[in-house]
Symmetry: C2
Subunit: 417 residues, 2 copies
């Protein structure tokens, strides 16, 4: 099944927002084996939207549209859909009732402009949207068009209840079987990954998707027979995983901080963090994972020297003699936070994230990361490239990755010294 | 000038990455007054890319393409461009030399597959790319097509050196004058903002761009005369700003944490944070701002009760009697971190971010935020909606916004009690 996506909104084509909806819809369709062939974004103009719809319907079997369904005058998608399909725009009474009832439940005042949202092209079938108001589906010449709201949270809910069951049903009847997986790598460059995988060839597709600071590999296997495709997918995924070794940290929706959390749980270990240059980002990432309070006990963000002394017991003389960005300070920070919080592991980051603050001796990008356990302390020096945000992100990634390697019993082979 | 953007890559249409390049290019063009009319994303197929190029060239005066310029076999944009424009694909010797020289400078081994990147359509003019390798421009029938790499950091650099000067020159010759600004609002809902602005009418465009948890307003004024457009833009921006009052926290590229930082600097004030439910996010946001070490001294992430006792001196009895998610605990956390770090302000967050951990008495989304100053303590209770990430983000936003309001001398009028 060929799928095209249309996102509607001046905010998208003017670049004022990043179009996460397109990625979400594409990923949803793709993961169920549908083939997304094109994503088009257009502004809030009836004729342009209608034109994009007509073109997409020529090429695709399924068209997914987001945006332009709200109550304001620049929400023009229903009108455009009516024009493109040569249908009337009608007030849908059932839809209107649903909207009114939701307004009552949410204690909102229903105004005439809200009625606008109940106007849909003739033949439209409203989609269930538990948290918002709008969304409908049209059928034309055996093809389906879904119209979704542009608010990402509403989109997610409505897709779960309408598009997912639709696609599952359609794809079961399809001929081509597709198995796809996403492999997540941290450490080598894209060229380095390619070198690792040299010589692995066969009937599969492999795409490189750099996603700073990680590299993601999308492996797709297609065929006619379910079991054969499954076996082939497993075989190639196994080969690739073996070559990547410790650099492969996760699959699918797994994220670095989630993998670290799972390993900590498995080992019954706990962790604390002392952050200078990452400014809270390591703790923030760890605590994005549900249930992280089981293993994450505390963090300190010691931006000032005084805080390093008072909160972590780093001696004034160490800071004076070696400086806050030094092997010695990183070591005492990691040890200090670990002892203070009585965790299995303590990690520390200190560095210059820029844009100012660098010196010839300690340039912007210079970072020390330390990991302390009961019988181990490991401090490494790094020189990272990029802007303030990138250096923070890279530092947090390396810190988490080193915890992962330690918990897996691998010695560190990352770029630092 | 009508601009269309084409982003190339299976990773985009499969939804494995979010297309930030399109937004970046659109924003760049838009902010210089060019009209972006369409964004199209296609996969790594020569014919599809060539088809998208041909269509775009029919409609637009300027086409911006990203992606598909790398060294691997799925990088097909140069071939597609050659096909679309009916030109040959040639090895560009000057380009090859530049690539080789960069490899030498970076101590990378030049392999035959890297030569691939020096093949461009006949007549292509290489673009300066200080940190990467590829990028070129083609002219056809008075129209221009820029081909950029897909790596966002490289794209930013190359756009700065090639597209920006190009657009500036072209747009100066244009007839229409455009003034655009972005107003950033936090507090009211989209409908609430509309109510504030009711009755303001005239010759301007205003788009609502919800960007959780904020609402952004894009104001555009067009006309033929520079001074008149400027004056009209100022007039409407003034009217809108006046109505929005304290809810308008910033303009353009300003972010909440940047505004807070600026105000702290202006007042010569310092800040410390004690985070439970936000898990480091408030500190991370504050330290994203260059120069934040001037006013941000320290943060603690007290996920465990023990950490709340030990690091902040919250009495065991308080945690026992009122619980960690309570007005009383929030108050003592804010006071504790402020006293310990001797900052002008201390802020604290404690709550249930979910998905588990909620009780009938303290449901998921319940959050207390406290701000302490020398002569002031203000604690408020909130019930936020959303998933773990959204509750963390909303909590951090409200905490920062309340610091902003306090520093501006406004009493808090946010939703908490």
């Amino acid at each position: 099944m060929r799928v095209e996506i249309i996102t509607v909104g001046d905010e998208v084509i003017s670049g004022h927002i990043v179009d996460t909806n397109a990625a979400f819809l594409a990923h949803t369709a793709f993961s169920l084996g549908a083939e997304v062939t094109r994503v088009v974004s257009v502004g809030d103009e009836v004729e342009v939207i209608a034109g994009a719809l007509r073109e997409a319907m020529k090429r695709a079997d399924l068209v997914l549209v987001t945006g332009g369904l709200g109550p304001t005058p620049d929400d023009l998608t229903p009108q455009a859909a009516a024009d493109a399909l040569d249908r009337g725009l009608i007030l849908h009474s059932g839809y209107l009732e649903t909207i009114k009832e939701k307004f009552r439940r949410w204690n909102l005042k229903f105004t005439p402009s809200d009625e606008r949202q109940a106007f849909v092209p003739e033949g439209a079938e409203p989609l269930p949207n538990p948290i918002g108001l709008c969304g409908f589906k049209l059928e034309e010449e055996g093809k389906s068009i879904f119209f979704f709201p542009g608010v990402p949270r509403e989109l997610a809910k409505i897709v779960e209840r309408s598009l997912l069951p639709f696609l599952r049903e359609k794809m079961q009847g399809g001929k081509e079987i597709v198995r796809a997986s996403l492999l997540k790598v941290f450490g080598p460059t894209e060229a380095g990954v390619k070198e690792f995988l040299q010589g692995i060839e066969g009937d599969f597709e492999l795409a490189y998707l750099p996603s700073f600071p990680e590299i993601r590999l999308r492996l797709v296997v297609r065929g006619a027979d379910d079991e054969e495709v499954e076996a082939r997918h497993q075989r190639y995924e196994g080969k690739i995983s073996e070559r990547l070794g410790i650099y492969l940290f996760g699959k699918g929706d797994e994220v670095m901080e989630g993998v670290v959390g799972r390993l900590l749980k498995e080992k019954g270990a706990t962790i604390s963090v002392a952050e200078s240059c990452t400014g809270g980002l390591v703790a923030h990432r760890i605590t994005e994972i549900p249930g992280s309070s089981d293993y994450f006990l505390q963090g300190v963000v010691v931006y000032s020297n005084q805080a390093k002394e008072k909160l972590l017991g780093v001696p004034h003389s160490t800071l004076e003699r070696f400086g806050p960005v030094s092997r010695e300070t990183a070591e005492l920070m990691a040890k200090g936070v670990r002892e203070q919080s009585r965790t299995t592991l303590g990690i520390a980051t200190t560095g210059i994230v820029g844009p100012t603050g660098g010196t010839p001796k300690t340039p912007v990008g210079r970072v020390f990361i330390a990991i302390a356990a009961e019988d181990m302390i490991e401090i490494k020096k790094y020189d990272f490239f990029g802007d303030r945000h990138q250096v923070k992100l890279m530092t947090s990634e390396v810190a988490l990755d080193r915890v992962r390697r330690y918990l897996m019993g691998h010695s560190s082979r990352s770029a630092g010294e």
